[in-house]
Amino acid sequence: MTVSTPPRPVAEQPLLEIKDLRGYFRTDNGLVKAVDGISFSINPGASVGIVGESGSGKSVTAFAITGLLEPPGYLAGGTVRLEGQEISGLSDRALQHIRGRDIGMVFQEPMAALNPVVRVGQQIAEAIRAHQQMSRKEAMAKAVQLLRLVGIPAPERRIRDYPNSMSGGMRQRVVIAMAIANEPRLLILDEPTTALDVTVQAQILALVKELRERIGTAVLLITHDLGVVVDVCDEVIVMYGGRIMEHATVEQVVRSPKHPYSVGLLNSVPSGKLKGQRLKAIQGTVPSPHDMPPGCPFASRCPEAFDRCLEMPPLQPQADGRRVACWLHVTEEAPR
């Protein structure tokens, strides 16, 4: 299989480093700070999940990283470094090159990434030839290999199919094949299985895990479903109101969530195990993005909120390695 990558030198630096990233939107009702100053990094080969509810800023984060924020949205601040090189502020053309080659992307709706009137084989071949010197014939042969790799049966025949004649699950496999065509170092998946049935979701998640092992790509998986993160990722970033609430290993968050929002989120998920018990629902609703309260965005719904929460707490590193943005977990006063 030619999709395997040559061994890379052990990286001293993170693959992706994000500092104080801000994605804002200008709207008729004022400025919406969808992502309001978040920082995190992803190591080579790591798998990081971003989990959050609607309006948490999780998808805007993906757009802001990859330079896909479109008006009325814009990158309002912060830096994005890929292997040490700053990519925020690069030209559209340069970013386009990075997106196809260094960062592969998969979104919820596969048809958004596919051209309905072009055969899937040709679409994949074009994605390859945009970044690699390769003849049409070679690229088409590679497309067949990629389709086989993502589990599409009889790929020699399927390359001639149009996306419309495929099921949702098959289309998402084609999009994943395109995303990994140039062996990206980072694969960003934004709600990749939300539109799919659960048995098909299980297939796609198994594929993502398998590809990660085989081609060694790092994964940034964005989802509203904590279960999906637990299945695929080692680390999780919990977002709310455009901020990171908690960044920890999956095990830490599942076993002992620290931020009251993480606790609430875990308690809210219904399952057979909680049968007959009242769900410990988080009270209230997500505040309107036009009308974000000052301080911690979760304060108005937080059972543990106190007057200090009118001020935004820092995302403070904890003794166990995780980071938590909550005054309850700020051990010492940050210098002013």
């Binding site: 509810e53 609607s54 099921s167 699950g169 098959m170 049935d197 659960v198 048995t199 098909v200 979701q201 299980a202 297939q203 998640l205 198994a206 509203h224 479903d225 904590l226 279960g227 999906v228 637990v230 299945d231 999956v250 095990e251 599942v254 076993r255 609430g264 989120l265 875990l266 308690n267 809210s268 998920v269 219904p270 399952s271 057979g272 909680l274 049968k275 009242r278 769900l279 410990k280 629902a281 988080i282 009270q283 609703t285 997500v286 719904r301």
Partner: protein, 337 residues
């Protein structure tokens, strides 16, 4: 209350609220919108089911399995093409049109997308009490307002919000309005079709708690249709798993979760990503996707994806039979004790 109601009421302890007997809903499949009929889509293909008063019956399955069509057929939004629906023992197939209307009013539906199912030009007070007006009863504007205010209070909204329009509410609040509307007609049964699926998990849990409270208070029977097995497992007393228009496994929720007996249910349950780090189960990853209901395979509809399939699965359609008391499967090779 009419004499007829009283007669039915008298043995309501034993009569199920809802009974389906070999219910079918077939759709003709045309070549283009006006072309000749070229096939039949068997959306619901022989469902037999009995739901007692006060039960929450969960109906799960993947898209295209027929669960929503089944719900829509029960509430009269689709006309069955075969079989019977009995509501508290009364056959809807032989009921008069006016009787049918009054029955359907008692069995409202709560839909997935509250915004799409609430008229954007109507105020909440009118939306909630629309059912009362249709009913033809003489209800004064003041009475309707009082009733609506009470219902908003019941579902956790504020009476001051009566004169607002749907778009002024959040998704969770809109779903509460949909529930208030369903309650206005003093229902005996509510069909909830993906009622919490569009909601964020923190809001979803609020609505699930509300539905449990209302059930206790008003002795409601629920048919809870959803693709999210975690939600269905949590809220249901009994669960029916649908595949290609048929119920393939039927059992109390706890028994189904503890030991699903047929391969499709086993795969479906194992596919739910669980929030669990201690014992990660071996996941059954099915190959392929559900076949088209227009051209279902012979015999067992699941056999093409099943790892236990034998010759008999190709030739004989398995009937829904008990593998143990209260637990049935439509499978030639179910797990037995």
């Amino acid at each position: 209350m009419t004499v007829q109601d009283l007669a039915v009421e008298s043995d309501s302890s034993t009569t199920p609220v809802l009974e389906l007997r070999n219910l079918q809903k077939y759709f003709p499949v045309r070549d283009g919108s006006l072309g000749p009929v070229k096939g039949t889509l068997k959306a619901v293909d022989g469902v037999t089911l009995s739901i007692p008063k006060g039960e929450t019956f969960g109906l799960v399955g993947e898209s295209g399995c027929g669960k929503s069509t089944l719900g829509r057929t029960i509430v009269g939004l689709e006309k069955p093409t075969g079989g019977q629906i009995l509501f508290r023992g009364e056959d809807l197939g032989t009921a008069s049109p006016s009787r049918l209307r009054s029955i359907y009013r008692e069995t409202p539906m709560v839909f997935q997308d509250p915004l799409a199912s609430l008229n954007p030009r109507m105020k909440v007070v009118d939306i909630v009490t629309e059912g009362l007006r249709v009913r033809g009863a003489r209800v004064s504007a003041r009475q309707r307002r009082a009733k609506a205010a009470h219902l908003l209070d019941v579902v956790g909204l504020r009476p001051e919000q009566l004169d607002r329009y749907p778009h002024e509410f959040s998704g969770g609040q809109r779903q509460r309005i949909g529930i208030a509307r369903a309650l206005a007609v003093d229902p005996s049964m509510i069909i909830a079709d993906e009622a919490v699926s569009a909601l964020d998990v923190s809001v979803q849990s609020q609505v699930l708690n509300l539905m449990s409270d209302l059930q206790r208070e008003f002795e409601l029977t629920y048919v809870f249709i959803a693709h999210d097995l975690g939600v269905v497992e949590y809220i249901s007393d009994r669960i029916g798993v649908m595949y290609l228009g048929r119920i393939v496994e039927l059992a109390p929720a706890t028994a189904l979760a503890a030991h699903p007996r047929m391969p499709y249910t086993q795969a479906l349950l194992s596919a739910i990503p669980e929030i669990e780090v201690d014992d990660r189960r071996e996941r059954i990853v099915l190959s392929g996707e559900p076949p088209s209901p227009i051209d279902p395979p012979s015999g067992c509809p699941f056999r093409l994806r099943c790892w236990k399939a034998q010759d008999i699965c190709r030739t004989d359609r398995p009937e829904l039979l008990e593998v143990k008391p209260l637990h049935s499967t439509a499978c030639h090779f179910p797990d037995r004790d």
